[in-house]
Amino acid sequence: MTLLAVRDLRIYYKSILGDYKVVDGVSFKVDENEIFGIAGESGCGKSTLVEGILRLIRPPGYIKSGEIIFKGRNILQLDEESLRKIRWKEISYIPQGSMSSLNPVMRIEDQIIDAILTHTNISKKEAKEMVPELLKKVGLPPDCGNLYPCELSGGMKQRVIIAMAVALMPSLVIADEPTTALDLVIQKVILQSLINLNKEYKIAIVLVSHDMAVHAQTTNRMAIMYAGKIVEIGSTEEIFYDPLHPYTRGLVNAIPSLEKKKLKYIPGISPSPLNWPPGCRFHPRCPYAIEICRNEEPKLKEIEPGRFVACHQWGD
């Protein structure tokens, strides 16, 4: 069952030089109970995309066009009040670097209670009773609620944030680079708690990460973004074992591992959102670019059920 469907979403940022087309026509679906990954290099628009899903884009950014259908309702057409009811209760969001946004002078427990009370009508006492259980869910000692953020390590703070995000049992959690500033050991713990929440409580997760190895360990399906567009969607296994788009192939080849002593890299640099290259946005870096790639933008086509690619090589 489809939980979230994004259709042709465009998010632009206004500037005196013109519009920065940061997300420029993105479509994908997230099913119930799945972990859906979004991968891509810095500046490809993945964070803006997930902010857009919750309508958190602030000026000079704006949502130019598109549809975001969550459980049959278009988020872009909801009024503020209905949107507030969806946020946190239905879709919660773990922004990048959010572990440093805990209030330093408030106990962990009170911050979790705050998050619960803002979005529900239950009493403070009931909310307080929920806290130890929530902390246990993410693998923290149930009594650490009365500590202050400075008494926790980075990994523990990140798990507090995850505990807040799942406090109201949303059907979807969007996690933007939840492990980026953390050590590998902690990263493993955090990813395992996300997988656990997905398996045990059937919470769908959208996981944004630039790190392909994180996706390999965590996600069921994934989308690859490049220059404001999705260039490929498939199961994580297909993406790693049978990448179709030349950019995806480049990304997969650039992953370091014990077995691969020699790394490849993609020549050239990512283009600017002010001035995307004409035609296929990857053509200046693509080893297979032909004439049509320079002039005509490839559409994201479904070449097999569930398998999408935007490349002229994979045509009709």
């Binding site: 693998g139 990994g155 493993k188 190895a213 296994e237 650039a254 370091p256 490849k264 890299y265």
Partner: protein
């Protein structure tokens, strides 16, 4: 006797933490705790690997002469870097170059990027008389795989992180130092470009004979760089060995934990075992003088590990490990 390029002897750095109100009592953290190692006077790559807070960046700063050690000595070409005269200090500043983590912060946003190259040429009198400045700059930019016309005259914000990091490497190419101290040079670079930066550092070893002290939290990066790896945990080096050996057969329980936490980029080989992490209390995180640095988190901790820090045990083939399990 063969003079070492760099020798770090019993270096300690103590930081004061807390106690700002005078009521809580001052606590001390030994960020770097009695570290000794050396880099031979021939092109070498050595990686320092450890988690955040292991003291690796503090050690790098002390080696660069940016912060003074609390005790111990750091010698470059046999001379203590903290008691150099003006001339020696100037030479040291030329012979030891740094590459930092954040390629966004090292540039002054008001100046064009090629200024870092021009200043280096003038300051160190590079290629006096023989070439003109423009030629030198173009050569250096080409050497790091950049097109001079794309770079010269641009401002930092117009370039990507990868390009900016490469310009720092072009600067190193110009200066031709004896030692590069690279503190997490690729952790802010996109994965698809990391290999290109690491390849350049390796090529400097071959072409310029420059040694590299490579500091990273990512064992895979040190594996890719090759050479020797020193694993640091809470201010101490706890294992030494060849990059390949450390990855294939980590000896210290801490190194084993690090290696097993590397996500395998293969969806068919997912983590099976559940990682249970001992949560350290705040009290435990503050330095404990007399136990093994990994005692609190070690699954194999013995009684004697609590009482004293294990000494280095020679395991042969250039491997050393500080753990009682191998005694």
């Amino acid at each position: 006797m063969n003079t070492k390029l760099l020798s770090v002897e019993n270096v300690v750095k103590v930081f004061k933490v807390g106690g700002g109100l005078g009521l809580l009592g001052r606590k001390y953290v030994k960020a770097v705790n009695d570290v000794t190692f050396s880099i031979p006077n021939e092109p070498t790559i050595i990686s320092l690997v450890g988690e955040s807070g292991s003291g690796k960046s503090t050690l790098a700063k002390m080696i660069l002469g940016l912060i003074r050690p609390t005790s111990g000595s750091i010698k470059f070409m046999g001379k203590d870097i903290y008691s150099m005269n003006k001339e020696e200090w100037k030479n040291f500043r030329r012979d030891v170059q740094a590459v930092f983590q954040d390629p966004y912060e090292v540039y002054n946003p008001f100046y064009r990027v090629d200024r870092v190259l021009r200043v280096a040429i003038r300051k160190f009198g590079i290629g006096k008389g023989s070439h003109d400045e423009e030629e030198l700059i173009e050569e250096a930019l080409k050497a790091v795989g950049l097109r001079p016309k794309d770079i010269i005259g641009r401002y930092p914000h117009q370039l990507s992180g990868g390009e900016r990091q490469r310009i720092m490497l072009a600067r190193i190419y110009l200066i031709k130092p004896k030692l590069i101290v690279a503190d997490e040079p690729v952790s802010m670079i996109d994965a698809s470009l990391r290999a290109s930066i690491l390849d350049l550092l390796q090529s400097f070893k071959e072409k310029l004979g420059t040694s590299c002290l490579f500091i990273t939290h990512d064992l895979l990066m040190s594996y890719y760089m090759g050479g020797d790896v020193f694993v640091m945990c809470k201010g101490k080096i706890i294992e030494k060995g060849n990059a390949e050996d450390i990855m294939r057969k980590p000896l210290h329980p801490y190194t084993q934990l690090l290696v097993s936490s590397i996500p395998i980029p293969d969806p068919r080989r997912r983590w099976k075992e559940k990682l249970s992490l001992k949560v350290e209390t705040l009290e435990e995180r503050v330095f404990q003088e007399n136990s093994c640095v990994f005692y609190n988190r070690c699954p194999y901790a013995l009684e004697k590990c609590k009482k004293s820090m294990p000494p280095f045990i020679n395991m042969g083939e250039g491997r050393e490990v500080a753990c009682f399990l191998y005694q």
